[in-house]
């Protein structure tokens, strides 16, 4: 296991997670959430939980991003708060 790669992935997870809840643009938040899921998928794979990584890649990074983007297109792109 190369700890530098793990560290970089973990830092990207933190950045994406914080950015996804603070960014004002909801489409950007959806994309950041997808990036967060994909990095989490890498972390699961590094820790040997391949089944969980597969689920995270397909559900978190794949379909849920599509559903978020569809919801953003049908509502509004700006947050109210």
């Amino acid at each position: 296991m190369i700890w530098q790669i793990e560290f970089v992935v973990l830092v990207i997870v933190l950045i994406c997670g914080v950015a996804a809840v603070t960014v004002r643009d909801l489409l950007g938040a959806a994309v950041l959430f997808g990036a967060y899921s994909f990095m989490m998928c890498l972390l699961w794979a590094i820790m040997g939980a391949v089944d969980v990584a597969f689920t995270e890649a397909s559900v978190g990074a794949g379909v849920s991003t599509v559903l978020f983007v569809a919801a953003v297109f049908r509502t509004s792109r700006r947050t109210k708060d």
């Binding site: 397909s58 794949g62 379909v63 559903l67």
Partner: protein, 276 residues
């Protein structure tokens, strides 16, 4: 108020990190979690179920009852989203766009206007119409069958490699969503209708429960697939593998149908009329 909330979050986050320091080290063989039933699964699951992937054996066989209710949770969530999103009965209030195919002229039919539905020369197009690129459309057409084949492989090969009903069902649903994005929602609805999606939601759960009930009727416990050896004329261990496959197919069907129906509802704002 905002600073108080931030302080509280920091306080409880710090407590959480502090508590997690007391956890056993990652991968510790002496941790309580790896000393209770894990050794049994690791040593005996291949002999008992003939499934090399221990995760699948635990999910679908040893903990089959939990997975059944996970599937029911997905089914219930899908039905809840159906009732939240779907708008029944009311006609689309906006005007509609039609394209006259021979001339390429776009007509806007205002609300209540006559619709040239009978004519073959008119094609309905979405109000938020994006000119579809030939490259995108052709690429998606090519990708869809291969992703569906891969999804079936993931469902059927979950015994031997990572995968199973949940992942395969999501990929299968994603391929239909890709078709809907590449063409339009009406083309997708003509191929995979809403009625079919709702029926498949229930069918997947029914397959799971029926597998459990079948092993119950054959004299075993609920979801004890070993008893399936009698009607299928195979050994008890092979019957467990077969039972896991049946259950995974049920999970895959439900997950696929729920994903597609969620996309239909979200993309058309519940009207199932015009998509993205």
């Amino acid at each position: 108020m905002k600073t108080a909330a931030a302080l509280l979050v920091l306080l409880f986050g710090g407590l959480l990190v502090y508590a997690s320091l007391e956890f056993p080290a990652w991968g510790d063989p002496m941790a309580p979690a790896s000393r209770h039933v894990s050794p049994h699964y690791i040593e005996r699951s291949l002999a008992e179920t003939s499934v090399p992937n221990i995760v699948t054996a635990v999910l679908a066989d040893y903990r089959g009852y939990d997975t059944m209710f996970e599937t029911i949770v997905i089914f219930t969530a899908g039905v809840a989203c159906l009732f939240l999103l779907r708008i029944f009965g009311r006609r689309s209030s906006e005007s509609r766009l039609y394209r006259h195919l021979p001339t390429g002229i776009t007509l806007r039919i205002s609300r209540g206007g006559a619709v040239p539905l009978s004519s073959k020369e008119f094609e309905r197009i979405d109000l938020q119409w994006v000119p579809y690129s030939v490259v995108v459309r052709t690429t998606c057409r090519l990708i869809v069958p291969f992703s569906q084949l891969f999804a079936l492989y993931v469902i059927a090969h979950g015994h031997h490699s990572p995968g199973g009903g949940f992942q395969g069902g999501v990929i299968l649903g994603a391929s239909i969503i890709l078709f809907a994005i590449a063409n339009n929602l009406r083309a997708s609805l003509a191929w995979f209708s809403e009625k079919l999606a709702v029926l498949l939601c229930g069918l997947g759960v029914s397959i799971y429960v029926a597998t459990g009930a079948l092993s119950f009727l054959l004299g075993g416990n609920f979801l004890d697939y070993g008893t399936l050896s009698k009607p299928f004329a195979m050994g008890a261990v092979a019957a467990r593998s077969l039972g896991i496959l049946m259950v995974e197919i049920g999970v895959g069907i439900t997950v696929m149908a729920v994903m597609v129906h969620l996309y239909y509802g979200l993309a058309s704002a519940g009207r199932h009329d015009e998509g993205l």
